[in-house]
């Protein structure tokens, strides 16, 4: 059989590309939602972690070390088959909760290390000019934090997308599961899975490109 025929059979015939697109949509959906909620929850977690209130700080620390120290698939199965088993919650929702929790732990640590790299002197300079604590945070801490955290945040996003490939375990038909299905149906794993990897690769590069774009804009804004 010709190579192009093979490609046609795998990706086009019987609407193969449509199911792939559907899987991609699910992957992107879970990743995007988890990123949004994870970042919000992670910021809160970091706030608790570095805060002066000891119990919250300890709780945040424990949470972060447990979640970061165990495979995300374990957490996913724990929630799906254990915690939410009887609630009839949709698998996608469970996946979003799982990956939000996971991302939050990573974001919290990433923010904390960025906070430590921050120059306290500039905040003090802002305070002595007469800015309030909150104003100084907005004026100095936030923009500088964003700048320090960005490169690591970018790889957190890319990692998140790849980690979502395990959601097939809880009956979700994401990109990986679709590729797997097509591979077994067509008995052409080599080409199909390579194709799937290329899609993930494209997704990652899309993220890098987006971050790069904001960086370029920031730089040109700074230099002129």
């Amino acid at each position: 059989m010709e190579f192009t025929d093979l490609l046609y059979k795998i990706f086009i015939k019987d609407g193969g590309w449509l199911t792939i697109l559907n899987g991609l949509r699910v992957t992107v959906e879970i990743s995007a939602l988890s990123l949004i909620f994870g970042t919000m929850f992670g910021s809160l977690l970091c706030f608790f972690r570095v805060g002066k209130f000891k119990p919250l700080s300890v709780a945040a620390q424990v949470y972060i070390s447990i979640v970061r120290g165990s495979p995300v698939l374990m957490l996913l199965m724990l929630l799906f088959y254990g915690v939410f088993a009887r609630t009839g919650m949709s698998p996608v929702l469970v996946a979003v909760i799982t990956f939000s929790m996971h991302t939050a732990a990573h974001v919290a640590e990433l923010l904390r290390s960025s906070l430590m790299a921050l120059d306290r002197g500039q905040v003090e300079a802002a305070r002595t000019l007469g800015f309030s604590k909150w104003q100084a945070f907005k004026l100095v801490t936030l923009p500088q934090l964003a700048r320090i955290a960005k490169p690591v945040y970018q790889s957190t996003v890319v990692n998140l997308i790849q980690w979502t490939s395990v959601v097939g375990y809880v009956t979700i038909t994401d990109l990986t599961r679709v590729i797997n299905n097509i591979a077994s149906r067509t008995m052409q794993p080599l080409i199909t899975i390579t194709g799937g990897m290329l899609i993930y690769l494209a997704l990652s590069y899309l993220i890098y490109a987006l971050f790069h774009l904001t960086e370029r804009r920031q730089q040109s804004h700074e230099r002129h």
């Binding site: 120059d119 002197g121 500039q122 003090e124 300079a125 802002a126 305070r127 002595t128 000019l129 007469g130 800015f131 309030s132 104003q135 004026l139 100095v140 923009p143 500088q144 700048r147 700074e222 002129h224």
Partner: protein, 369 residues
């Protein structure tokens, strides 16, 4: 009304008492230089004035308003004070113009045009108009510090606090920053400057505060403090005195240890070999003279204090010895006397010699010729 009034300010970190009760009144137009050894609390004092450190006790009034009162609007009172930092602390994500204009625009409600105009005026005064759009990372330390001074001036402060403004600078850049501060001094701006630049302090300040032991140990006009300091720690600081001391409690004392100690001391402060040798000789001869003539039996109590002034290079030796009254130089040195060779050497190597006997203790002091 005084610009700053401080009453009984105390600050400690853990068990370390850094400030043990500082009282100070600063009137408008005063330029105060704060000097003192490292760790004397002078920088902490400045930070307390801005309430960056919370004092353990005491009150601070800025232009009549108590900064240390509960529920006071700290941010508003802080606008009366400018602070210039050792490490500049410019906002690194903003260019020079933004650094200067952000506070007056957001806090004083100044329009952007007015703020920019004011900023350009200040930049012109410090010679940096060409850097208005530059980012701090592309500026030299001296330029950053001049900008930082402008930034605090943008708020029209009643007083500016300088925390070692030239300590983090390359020696080649110290001059340009001091020049800017001198210029402000001519405009009768009230300022407090923590500094290690003694000549600058003398020239610019109207009053010098010498900090030691967590208090204002001595204060006065530059002439009083630099030319005629009264209290011992001030004297030691101003003359950059370095000390060596040695105690002797028995006849068979460790002479090599003492000579080694003097050698190390002398090398540390760059004495030449001849001078080192003379110092050792003086000390040794003096000790043996006293051991032989003043001390009775095994009852020996001798202490030797050597003070070297890095400023004028004078080495002073203070010597006390308990026992009988004995003055080794109370002799006629016109004839060479083989028996008194030690006293002879001492006579030749000493200047401004004095001997006192009081309460069973001989006190001898002289400086090395």
């Amino acid at each position: 009304m005084s610009v700053i009034e401080v009453r009984g300010l105390k600050k400690s970190f853990g068990s370390l008492d850094v400030l043990r009760g500082v009282d100070l009144i600063v009137e408008a137009g005063e330029r105060i230089a704060i000097i003192g050894g490292s760790g004397c609390g002078k920088s902490v004092f400045l930070r307390c004035l801005e309430l960056l450190e919370t004092p353990n006790a005491g009150q601070i009034f800025i232009a009549g308003e108590e900064l240390t009162a509960p529920n006071v609007d700290i941010d508003r009172i802080r606008r009366n004070m400018g602070m210039v930092w050792q490490k500049f602390n410019l906002f690194t994500h903003m260019n020079v113009m933004e650094n200067l204009t952000v506070a007056p625009m957001k806090l004083l409600g100044m329009t952007q045009d007015a703020a920019r105009e004011k900023a350009m005026n200040l930049l012109a005064q410090v010679g940096l108009t060409s850097k208005a759009d530059a980012y701090p990372e592309f500026l030299s330390g001296g330029q950053q510090q001049r900008i930082a001074i402008c930034r605090s001036l943008m708020m029209n402060p009643k007083v500016i606090l300088f925390d070692e403004p030239t300590s983090a600078l390359d020696p080649t850049m110290v001059g340009e920053v001091l020049a800017v501060i001198r210029m402000l001094a001519k405009q009768d701006l009230t300022m407090l400057i923590v500094t290690h630049e003694m000549n600058f302090a003398r020239e610019v300040a109207t009053r010098i505060l010498f900090f030691a032991d967590g208090v204002i140990y001595e204060q006065g006009t530059p002439a009083e403090i630099f030319d005629a300091p009264k209290l011992p720690k001030t004297v030691a600081f101003i003359h950059k005195l370095k000390y060596f001391d040695f105690e002797i409690t028995e006849r068979a004392f460790d002479l090599p240890k003492m000579q080694g100690g003097i050698q190390t001391f002398a090398e540390k402060y760059g004495f030449n070999a001849r001078r080192t040798n003379r110092l050792q000789l003086c000390c040794e001869e003096l000790i043996y003279e006293m051991l032989d003539n003043a001390c009775a039996g095994d009852d020996v109590k001798i202490s030797l204090d050597v003070a070297y002034s890095e400023v004028d290079g004078v080495v002073e030796i203070k010597f006390t010895c308990a026992g009988k009254a004995y003055n080794p130089l109370n002799k006629n040195f016109d004839e060479i006397d083989e028996d008194n060779l030690g006293a002879m050497i001492l006579h030749n190597l000493s200047k401004n010699y004095s001997h006192e006997y009081e309460g069973g203790v001989n006190r001898i002091s002289f400086s090395l010729a």
